[in-house]
Symmetry: C2
Subunit: 136 residues, 2 copies
DNA sequence: TCCTAATTGCAATATATTTGCATTTGCATT
DNA sequence: AATGCAAATGCAAATATATTGCAATTAGGA
């Protein structure tokens, strides 16, 4: 699906700026910070402004179209959030409910592992505890 | 062991500022950002300067005495790094080596889980792959 | 085509962090 | 104990990152 329809599905107004920003994030193989998103967007749409990028990153985040990733650097990074994409689970020990969690610790570890020469192939991450209902 | 000896062991010069900063981090139950570390240090040592805090955070990080934690907020957070403290493992599938990793994804998830009313009690995080030797 | 709320650009502001430089200080060595 | 010097500090300025107010523009439904 193209960015225009993705935005429409999320009930977001379609503007050239917003389309460009989402396109830049969606088509990147790597996670990008706001500067990089701005620069690449400006290449495609020179009139675009940094504030517009920041504001749209917030909106796209709210709408669940992108993810914010925490890294050791002091600028936030973003990537596209596709349905069915990689995620982990929070599991309730009482009722067994499995809540999907759209977060993967590997994203912020890749650099660190590369430095020590480790090539990760698989990983496992699960959280156990009590869900809202069961912890009452 | 007191902060003074910890610093000595790491071959770091002992200054009132450095001692105070490490003490503040070591005695906190929660992770702190640079502002909080500065404010609490300034309470104990009013003459201390923010640059000194930043510079020492870098040095303590280099020396492995503290850890930097990635969070959603746009300020970095820190905590003390004690030997034997909570950690996870990277495991080589060929030679079986288990490399300790001083990183826990839960630290940055606590807020998120609290928001959805989930009370975590346990978690599991393991990385599998090939270590430097075995990936050649 | 018209209307309105949402969006944008721009400049100003806020917040977080780094850096240059003169001064001070820890500490090894005399 | 006195000395020397690299390391550390304080301060101000610079840089990086992100947010906000406001007037002008624009998307998209009526």
């Amino acid at each position: 699906m193209d960015v225009e329809n993705i935005l429409r599905q999320s009930n977001l107004k379609i503007t050239p700026q917003r389309k460009t920003i989402l396109k830049v994030i969606a088509e990147s193989d790597i996670i990008l910070d706001s500067q990089e998103i701005y620069q690449e967007s400006a290449r495609l749409l020179p009139s675009i402004n940094p504030s517009t990028v920041y504001r749209n990153l917030d909106i796209l985040l709210q709408s669940g179209l992108i993810c914010k990733i925490n890294t050791q650097e002091n600028s936030a990074k973003y990537r596209i959030r596709e349905q069915g994409s990689h995620h982990h689970h929070i599991i309730c020990k009482k009722c067994g409910t499995s809540i999907p969690l759209d977060f993967c610790p590997m994203e912020e570890l890749d650099n660190k592992l590369e430095k020590i020469g480790f090539t990760p192939t698989e990983h496992r991450f699960e959280i156990f505890g009590y869900c809202q209902k069961c912890s009452k």
